[in-house]
Symmetry: C2
Subunit: 755 residues, 2 copies
């Protein structure tokens, strides 16, 4: 067994050697390599010490860390026998310990005070004393149980941080002490999360990224190149079962898939730097990706990690920041908890590393300034010096399309920004095990406030009262389902029948992304696999009308199918209904809307039959007035629903939705506008522009080739938007006559004023 | 008829002359009195001009007003024929006009630029031209319809502001011009809202306050002492019908009740300055009370208006500011819209007048500084000079009891403040027509955030889409009902059977208000009329335990009745349920809880039978963790309810409540604690102190004489709170033995640690 191991290793090693870099050096086993050398370097420490007192943001961060660690040193530490899930004492204590060690190590280097080194050393020796005695963590919920924590993931977190602490006090320790720690703690620790848990380590997944980085960091700290190779290229797992799944229902990996750190960089990131799981998980994975890349760059520059895949790790920093709203909160793509933002601590290092290794982009300094904190290392010093020299520029978020897929050919996320509006339109691949079944879904933000929501995930991270802080069952039964999103649901089934095996095979396709003209921006995409036999084409447009203060959104969804179906298009507005222009009948008591695919979690509160008029929903949120106006056709149905049915533990938020339903239709056209048109002040009690500016939206033409929509506004102007449904060539000439009026244009769409 | 009028007037005049002041002077009809003399004075104008450029807050306010009015002068004005309800064009335009005139008048005085005077003059002449032609406003909803607006109330608003404008340009106008304006506009305007609408003018009500102030202001501006007398003492209304009611169901007035401005000061304000309708309406009435008082003081100092009733108008300023939470938002007592705060424009003058005429209290300067605006008059100058001289001190809100009733003997509002917690306990009189049936109710705020809510009113003020911006029917059927509040409901009937005629006869009684010790503060009150034959005694306590960061609330409600009843005690927590320690059964679909008295608006979502254990409800709001722990007895029932049934227009907010129900009980004891114990950050995803610190709450003794509650906390300490139920003497000595342990103390209660 051992022999096979070594053999496989050697092969993997050679492969990588050839593949990645010719300058790959053999490991220097003499211990000559100096420490610190991971995130802090000898030179960095010297420069930091020379600048202290003149770099306010660094000085402040340092003072806070010092204050915190000084208090902790007085308090003393605890290394409890592992027992709890997240939220529980032993979990939170081990988590706290690794953060304290990392900080104390840094303080030792910068302040040159042995008490910090001693604190780290004492804690490490306590871990080294106990670790060999600990069995696998008693809590059984994970597919890869850790030793300190209930899952290897958290054990890896521990090692990523602790490696830095060890690097910092490396030279403070005697060789014998280092031997003890490495033999009793670090090596078995690294082996446990890799060799003994290949189903965790050998994946392309944020779990594996942490695992790879953890093993890689400690390998760099210990100058153990064999171990480093394991981090970069994976560990042998000849018992690999391609049918095995993790707790989220995701496959461990595809058979034959590459593994190790580089594979984890290569696969999930598109060439634009979009991380296929979405920004919430990128934020989480960002730390190990970048902290390990930084260490690798510092210690093994010949690996050229930041040049890998055309510099994708650095591009990912920019992509991630662009995936946040005006308040810096990440858009909710796939499993994501609301409120996570670039103020998260892992984004401190992301921004600092992005700045330091990515060409000192001054826009990143303005983010760092808002974060009001830097990493206490070479990268943080660079940022602090930049801010001290007042070199920051505003980080301007513009409309942007970020492709998905390792090769950038698996759809994309399109973000349209206009005025205070930010529209996120999702036409990506599935997003691995955290993906939702929500192709062609969107969400809308206004000045940082979510107005048309993506529910996010059904989980209260680290809140033990709610299922131990882990994913709740409603995440699967509600949050991932199509009906929980602002997108099409056919026959009350989720897209891809809600099956990961199917969904993960497909992606939507980009059709148009055109944002050169700030008055008319278009994102258009097609989905042809979510419901076999049905093609969906959605176009989202932001229009800035000079007569009105805010831009508005035009949403066109064309559905064509081989069969007759029921189509539901939910609209998850947030806020209180002010008025509708149609009569609805409120039910005496809410009724459960359906049986499965998320419908079992929706109550029907009211319903209406509409017949070809525009319907309008006017609502108020956060002291702003909004109106949704939708074209309807004969026998369309409107349902006011509310989340919360079949929710025995009150796990769900009880928000509303409006569902526009078409029964027994083959082809269908959904067209609507969304306006943010007015404001209210509960202090002055003044309502300003409380009503929609749009008089009427109508379909002028809808054919296989073209869809033309007319929008009449209250100031008697009339606009026509025409999109070519089959030709997205930017240079094609189009000529079209509608109602004896001729429209000619070049490109895939036109917006014109009707005289 | 005319003769009778004059006769009655003369009598009223003489009565007042004797009663109020001996120095009451006859009117100088020579026109010698100089202008401006209402809110601006000649001397004030001189001082303001001398200080411009050195009083930043005043300069800034002035610049903003100038910018606004300059733009409006260019735009021109419109005086449309009245037609709309609030929110509509003509309503909003007439409202805008009076504000513009007032500001332009002030600018004329301060900047000495005729263009501002001309703007006011032109607009006034346009009103004078059209006013005589206008019939009563076409919209029929009010018991006292105006001419410019749908109700006399808004016409009065207009006149209060316009009088100031007229005063400012008085000397700019020729005598002939003044005659025209007074004859065609001001006198008939004043007559209309007084003589022709005595059901509006002759009340003790915020409506009448505006009417009295309006007539009084224009009387002062015109130097018309007969008219001033009408303002101060009411108008003849020999056709008065004591059974007549207003639109809110309130009586016009009690037979024989005094009327006019002084009566309106005397009756609704308690000697502590509490306004019986509550702070939301005090805020609204505050402007006419104080602006007219200021004008009266400036022009008729012999009236000594600020000394009236021991200086109650100035005391009311302090009372009002104390009725706001940490963010300056007013507590929701009776009809009140959430979010109204001391940043409302009427509070600018309230604070400035309170400062200028009330002895230059430096704490008011800190409020003015937060408001970042002053009135452009003598009072505003005083504030601006105070701020420029850096004389402000923080306005420290402490625990305070504010008596209700003209003589201060009709109950009170008790406010307990401890740490970040603010508890508002209501044991007042009914509060006139805007009163709610919620004796012994409370609400709890934490750092300015409402945690245990009072629903407030069911109205979206000035949002036309929602019932023209007026009271919605759900205000009567839900918001005013007892079950909408955190107080006792017997047999699913509202207190006083929800009848204003009955409720307005009674008030609760203070029992204890003791706040000297910040570690234990007690507010206790009794209600014996809400349900005939049933006596309710509620005691609310804040306890600061040195072991815990935040104080917690202990709530004891004793009920004793002559008959067996169902008792419901709702608890309107805001936020999401995290966990309960009891099993509840969620219903498949919500059921309507009851038939009337507000129960028809509640859905039952889940229920539980409990049996003598403590129940715990742990919830999360605004990233803080809270726990409600309640003692239960055998066969108590817990109901999770949600607002929103029988709400055909989605007028209600769909928030939750927990109802603790006792069936078939004569006497009952409800005891609970409320803790704010932890925090959550969606950015760091850290949950801190997510669980209650209280292990157990139990009843040691409950007798006619004493109630003793034991609270055991997680750190193994045990506290006992004992209250004397029948003797609230502060000096009495008590001795009590419970479980062989002797407790002795002086005063009405004790909190002691159990060793």
């Amino acid at each position: 067994m051992n022999k096979i191991h070594i053999l496989v290793f050697s092969i993997a090693f050679v492969l990588v050697s050839c593949n990645k870099t010719a300058e790959f050096k053999t490991v220097d086993k003499t211990g000559e390599q100096s420490h610190p050398s991971l995130v802090l370097t000898k030179k960095g420490v010297k420069d930091i010490r020379a600048n202290l007192g003149q770099i306010p943001i660094f000085d402040k961060t340092l003072a806070a860390a010092q204050k915190e660690i000084d208090a902790e040193i007085i308090k003393g530490f605890d290394v409890p026998v592992p027992k709890d899930y997240s939220g529980g004492y032993t979990h939170e204590t081990h988590k706290k310990n690794y953060i304290l060690m990392q900080k104390a190590g840094v303080l030792y280097q910068i302040l040159d005070d042995d008490k910090y080194a001693k604190y780290v050393k004492d804690m490490l020796f306590e871990y080294a004393r106990q670790y060999p005695t600990w069995p696998i963590h008693p809590k059984p919920r994970s597919y890869a149980r850790g030793k300190l924590f209930w899952q290897c993931l958290n054990d890896s977190n521990w090692l990523v941080y602790t490696s830095q602490a060890y690097d910092c006090i490396y030279e403070y320790l005697s060789e014998e002490e280092r031997n003890t720690l490495e033999t009793d703690l670090f090596k078995p620790f690294a082996d446990y999360i890799s060799k003994e848990n290949p189903q965790f380590f050998n994946r392309v997944h944020n779990h594996a990224t942490w695992g790879n980085a953890a093993v890689g960091m400690i390998a760099l700290a210990m100058d153990d190149d064999a171990l480093l190779d394991r981090a970069l290229n994976g560990v042998n797992d000849d018992k690999f079962d391609p049918d095995e799944k993790d707790n989220d229902g995701g496959y461990i990996r595809k058979d034959g898939q590459k593994i190790g750190f580089f594979a984890n960089v290569n696969e999930p990131f598109s060439p634009d730097g979009y991380f296929t799981e979405g920004p919430y998980y990128q934020r989480y994975a960002s730390y190990p990706f970048l902290i390990f890349a930084q260490a690798l760059q510092n210690k093994k520059p010949e690996q050229k990690v930041f040049e890998y895949k055309d510099g994708v790790l650095l591009k990912s920093v920019n992509a991630l920041l662009n995936l946040s709203n005006a308040d810096g909160e990440f858009f909710l793509l796939n499993d994501a908890q609301k409120g996570m933002s670039y103020f998260n601590s892992s984004l401190i290092s992301t921004v600092d590393i992005g700045y330091h290794f990515g060409g000192n982009n001054p826009e990143l300094l303005s983010i760092a300034e808002m974060q009001d904190e830097v990493t206490l290392d070479d990268a943080g010093l660079a940022v602090a010096l930049g801010i001290a020299a007042a070199r920051e520029k505003p980080f301007v978020k513009k409309s942007i399309e970020l492709s998905d897929g390792a090769n950038g050919d698996e759809g994309a996320v399109g973000i349209l920004r206009s005025g205070d509006m930010e529209l996120v339109f999702k036409y990506t691949a599935h997003g691995l095990s955290h993906g939702h079944y929500d192709k062609l879904s969107f969400a809308l933000f206004d000045g940082g406030t979510e107005v048309v929501q993506d529910y996010g995930m059904s989980r209260f991270v680290n809140i033990e009262q709610k299922g131990g802080g882990n994913y709740l069952k409603e995440n699967t039964t509600w949050a991932k389902q199509s009906i929980a999103h602002n997108t099409l649901v056919q026959n009350e089934k989720s897209q891809f029948n809600g099956k990961y095996d199917i969904g993960s095979k497909y992606h939507s396709n980009k059709y148009i992304f055109s944002v050169e003209d700030e008055n008319i921006q278009v994102a258009s995409a097609k989905e042809e696999n979510a419901y076999p036999g049905t093609k969906i084409h959605r176009t989202m447009v932001t229009i800035k009308d000079k007569d009105y203060q805010n831009p508005y959104v035009l949403d066109i969804m064309r559905v064509s199918s081989e069969s007759s179906n029921q189509y539901d298009l939910p609209f998850f507005f947030l806020g209180q209904i002010m008025q509708t222009n149609f009569d609805y009948k409120k039910l005496d008591a809410p009724e459960i809307l359906g049986n499965s695919a998320g419908y079992q979690h929706l109550y029907k509160e009211a319903g209406a039959l509409v017949n070809g008029e525009n319907i309008k929903l006017n609502w108020l949120q956060n002291d702003k007035f909004y109106t949704y106006s939708a074209i309807t056709f004969n026998n369309d149905e409107v349902i006011f629903g509310r989340i919360g049915a079949n929710d025995p533990d009150f796990n769900l938020r009880n928000e509303q939705t409006l569902i526009l339903r078409k029964n027994n239709a083959k082809d269908a056209l959904f067209v609507s506008t969304i306006e943010s048109h007015g404001t209210y002040s509960p202090v002055s009690e003044l309502a300003v522009n409380a009503y929609s500016n749009i008089d009427d939206v109508s379909v002028l033409l809808d054919s296989k080739e073209y869809t033309a929509i007319q929008i009449n506004t209250k100031n008697d102007t009339s606009k026509v938007f025409i999109i070519s449904n089959e030709n997205n060539d930017k240079e094609s000439e189009h000529k079209l006559t509608i109602d004896n009026k001729e429209y000619t244009w070049r490109g895939s769409y036109i917006l014109t004023e009707n005289k």
